[in-house]
């Protein structure tokens, strides 16, 4: 089956030369409830499949994936919401390794300046295997604060801060030798072992020893940008449709999550101050459910623009684009790019006082539970647009640069805001096609898009 090649613009790969089948109904399955369920149920032509029935679309959770992906046969049209080894990006220790390797490669190929663009991740050491390297770094910078995070847990569990080696000595004695519960254990060994991947190694670790929970020690960012005296981080959504070639979309909406209490370095023990996950905040005695603790990212962008001017904000946001793209590029060769898979990542970004963004982590299963009405709107629109891009209904041509609130950020190369061929030289007036924190008039855009798609179809039939 030949595919008409457009030399100037590459489609984003959804439609092949042969028309994709229009299905009468799309059978979906999911274990999640709340926003996702609402969106799936309301989608015209989609029916829910219970229990053991066949499905066309599955929004699964990662544990199911781990256990079943390898022995599940999927037709060509079937879509599933995770990549088999997404943990290369989302587990903190793997991500650090991949990023470090990518950085070295960049330095070899393109020089120090290019490699420096990967310096958006605070210095991290895997524990316990990199303990000695960590101690060396620790001694070089006395007095700074470090944060210890468990590799595979979420919602802020198990995190603590420290300044003295003594503090982690105690911790080492305490957790070394603790058995993990099965849900916290490392991912099961899979039959496919990509080169440079980590599965082989981890299965060796598991052979004889009692599994020890892996942690990372990371340099704590001591000068976060504060608003109203409070620390916050940004949650941004990136949709990856494939890794080879790399195609990623950036959602215009997102939010800033505020810590409930004022930031001060003196209260290291106060877990509530330093961690901005809503989950942790909810247990803080100060927490009032009505407060919400969140700002839409548009509000944040405006606030910064009125304080620092539009140019500084442009720079900050394009630095964030850089983070998304480079982090994805660093795992591009390692992740098994199955055409059935797509993934919606939740990126956590922290801004410091010099307006430099730092990557805290990437989540493969960002929370889809709504904490307020505004949050509900955001998440349902996000999920609707995700389903539009996945395009089970085979409506898109594959040349779209924008679908609802998603902008095509990377299509095997940078995507320009202007019409026509992307300016690959990277110079001149290249403006990337990202609009994070900008106006999201998705309803209007979707109406126009689908109307024009319909008329195109009529014209060609």
């Amino acid at each position: 089956m030949s595919r008409p090649k457009n030399q100037n613009y590459k489609g984003h790969g959804l439609s092949k030369g042969k028309e994709r089948e229009q299905r009468a109904s799309i059978r979906f399955k999911t274990t999640l409830v709340n926003t996702l369920m609402d969106v799936l149920r309301h989608r015209p032509g989609w029916v829910e499949v219970k229990d053991e029935g066949d499905w066309d679309f599955y929004w699964c959770d990662v544990s199911w994936l781990r256990e079943n992906f390898d022995h599940t046969y999927m037709d060509e049209h079937v879509r599933i919401s995770h990549f088999r080894n997404h943990y290369e990006l989302t587990r903190k220790n793997y991500m650090v390794k991949n990023l470090k390797r990518f950085r070295k490669q960049l330095e070899r190929e393109a020089g120090k300046l290019e490699a420096a663009k990967c310096d958006f991740f605070p210095k991290t050491f895997e524990m316990p295997c990199e303990y000695h390297l960590f101690v060396e770094e620790f001694r070089k910078n006395p007095g700074i604060t470090w944060i210890m995070k468990p590799v595979a847990r979420s919602q802020g569990k198990g995190i603590f801060l420290f300044r003295r080696l003594k503090d982690i000595m105690d911790w080492r004695k305490g957790t070394a030798g603790k058995k993990l519960t099965s849900s916290e254990a490392q991912p099961a060994r899979s039959a496919v072992n990509p080169p440079g991947g980590h599965d082989a190694r981890s299965s060796e670790d598991q052979k004889d020893e009692i599994p020890v929970e892996n942690y990372v020690a990371q340099r704590y960012i001591e000068n976060p940008y504060l608003i109203g005296g409070r620390k916050f981080d940004l949650r941004v959504y990136v949709l990856v449709m494939s890794y080879i070639p790399l195609r990623a979309w950036l959602y215009r909406d997102g939010f800033a999550r505020f810590s409930n209490t004022r930031f001060t370095l003196s209260s290291i023990d106060d877990q509530y101050v330093h961690l901005t996950n809503v989950a942790v905040q909810k247990t803080s005695p100060d927490y009032h459910p009505k407060k919400g603790c969140k700002w839409m990212i548009q509000r944040f962008r405006q606030y910064l623009a009125s304080k620092h001017g539009p140019e500084a904000v442009e720079t900050l946001f394009s630095d964030m684009d850089n983070i998304f793209i480079r982090s994805l590029q660093s795992v591009q060769k390692v992740i098994i790019s199955d055409k059935h898979c797509f993934e919606l990542y939740g990126y956590d970004i922290l801004i410091d006082q010099d307006l430099k963004p730092w990557l805290l982590e990437v989540n493969a299963s960002p929370s889809l539970t709504a904490s307020s009405q505004e949050d509900y709107e955001l998440k349902t629109c996000l999920l609707e647009d995700t389903l539009h891009v996945v395009d089970m209904e085979a409506r898109l041509t594959g040349r779209e640069k924008r679908v609802g609130g998603f902008d095509l950020m990377w299509n095997d190369g940078p995507v320009s805001r202007e019409e026509g061929a992307p300016d690959l030289s990277g110079m001149g007036n290249f403006v990337t096609n990202t609009h994070l924190g900008c106006v999201n008039d998705r309803k209007k855009q979707l109406r126009q898009l689908f109307r024009s798609l319909q008329s195109q179809k009529k014209a060609s039939s």
Binding site: G228, T261, W295, S372, C438, V439
Partner: protein
């Protein structure tokens, strides 16, 4: 002609009097003395040379701005023999209504005071003072027991008072005609109609570019936005208040807004201003007022629960607590129909020598008061500057939203304007709402009293407040709900 001239000279005399006592005067004098050292100043043409010097060095501009500022705020005297009450409010029945409303508020405050056996004011013990000083930047973490405090009044109580306002000299007659006003406000005040509004708000016409509309993504920036931003930067460079006020009628670019507002309100953070704010802060530390608890309660109930403003909670305390103690605010009562409530030192009730204004700034906060400050936190981060801006906004505009007066920007006129516009141009909607028992004013009143703070998204709110500053009038608030209600 003669009348105008004498009016003008009266105004000039009053402004000169006012400015003579200001810091600007002292600075100008100092500058004049210092300029004598300069070679271009010659004895023969001393006056002209100094004037020239002021022009070049930008001091003349500062003086111009100060005069412009006075003119904006200063009500023009209607008659040289008019008593001061007329300056506050010329209509007797309005004055009376305001007076009785104030009595009610004060009574409510006093009874709360007695019920809870809390003094209106007390000196803090030293330990408490230290504690408060330490916590100054995070007063929001304090969780005092506020369950027994109630706001002194809410906008809806105030609305009831306005609904019952009647002019005793006006006989409506029982017959309904097309002229009958079907709304809640039944006082015969003159409000602008659409042709007059069109003329007044000429810069908001369809053919003139506007920020908030003509800078949206579909419109290429070359058409309007770029030029507008360039002009804005020029205005700021010139430091001209009047030009800034004219410019901002078309909206202010986000990056320039903070400076433009400061220019229009003639606020510059001089060391004296910072010192003054610090003095107020000391007052807060040393004395505790009952109104402080009311402020706390209001902030916790409104701003802290707002999705956008909860971050600024601490700033709100820092501004409002100082505001309560600022006696310079008493100056605005000269042109406010309201009067500051008086209280008496314990045991000396009725003795004028022992009367004090309570709270010291004469303004009793009501439910939602803190929302006047919240949007400003988006623009100003330095507490003393934020404070100055808020204070100036209050004594120029916000006070009119909760006092009974016949002023065209007063809340009564705004309500009447809103109802008239709605009745004239959307009669079916108006009639329908009345039929279902939902008088439109009951819905929009709280929006107007708060100048839409908390009801509009911040970016839109700031664009609206741009126009308030630009036109030096609150009438735009009455125009706004007309587009929202349907």
């Amino acid at each position: 002609m003669l009348q105008e001239e004498s009016d003008l000279s009266l105004v000039i005399a009053q402004i000169v009097q006012k400015l003579k006592g200001s810091n600007l005067y002292a600075q100008l004098e100092r500058q004049a003395w210092a300029s004598l050292q300069r070679p271009e100043i010659k004895l023969e043409s001393l006056k002209e040379d100094i004037k020239e010097f002021f022009k070049i060095s930008g001091w003349e501009k500062k003086l111009q701005n100060a005069v412009y500022s006075e003119l904006s705020v200063f009500p023009l005297p209607s008659h040289p023999a008019a008593p001061p009450e007329h300056l506050k409010e010329p209509l007797v029945y309005m004055r009376k209504a305001q007076g009785s409303w104030e009595k009610r508020i004060l009574k409510s405050l006093n009874s709360m005071c007695t019920e809870l056996s809390i003094p209106l004011a007390r000196k803090r013990p030293v330990g408490e003072q230290k504690e408060l000083l330490n916590k100054w930047n995070e007063m929001g973490t304090d969780e005092p027991d506020l369950s027994l405090f109630r706001p002194v009044y809410a906008p809806k109580d105030f609305l009831e008072v306005l609904i019952n306002l009647r002019n005793p000299n006006y006989e409506n007659g029982d017959s309904l005609s097309f002229r009958t006003h079907l709304g809640l406000i039944q006082v015969p005040l003159k409000v602008k109609d659409i042709p007059e509004l069109k003329e007044f708000f000429v810069e908001l016409g369809l053919t003139t570019g506007q920020l908030g509309i003509d800078d949206s993504t579909q419109v290429p920036p070359e058409l309007f936005e770029n030029e507008h931003v360039r002009i804005g930067q020029k205005v700021l460079a010139e430091q001209d208040s009047a030009a800034a006020q004219q410019y901002i009628r078309q909206g202010s670019p986000t990056a320039l807004r903070a400076e433009l507002w400061a220019l229009i309100l003639n606020i510059s953070s001089q060391p004296e201003d910072i010192l003054y704010y610090e003095q107020l802060k000391t007052n807060v530390i040393q004395h505790d007022l009952l109104v402080d608890s009311l402020i706390y309660k209001d902030v916790k109930l409104t701003a802290s629960n707002d999705d956008y403003y909860f971050v600024f909670e601490d700033y709100l305390y820092q501004v409002l607590l100082c505001f309560s103690r600022d006696t310079s605010v008493l100056g605005h009562f000269a042109y406010n129909s309201a009067s500051p409530p008086k209280s008496y030192i314990r045991g000396k009730l009725g003795l004028e020598e022992y009367a004090v204004f309570y709270p010291p700034n004469g303004v009793i906060p009501f439910h939602g008061f803190s929302m006047y400050v919240a949007p400003l936190c988006f623009l100003y981060h330095e507490p003393s500057k934020l404070y100055q801006i808020f204070r100036e906004m209050y004594v120029r505009f916000f006070f009119r939203l909760h006092s009974i007066s016949s002023h065209p920007s007063g809340i009564v006129s705004l309500c009447l304007l809103f109802e008239t516009l709605l009745q004239t141009y959307l009669p079916q909607l108006f009639y329908h709402l009345r039929e279902i028992g939902a008088q439109p004013l009951r819905i929009s009143f709280k929006w107007m009293v708060r100048a839409f703070s908390g009801y509009l998204a911040t970016d839109q709110l700031l664009l609206l407040w741009d126009r308030i500053l630009g036109y030096n009038s609150l009438e735009i608030l009455a125009d706004c709900p007309k587009s929202i209600v349907p």
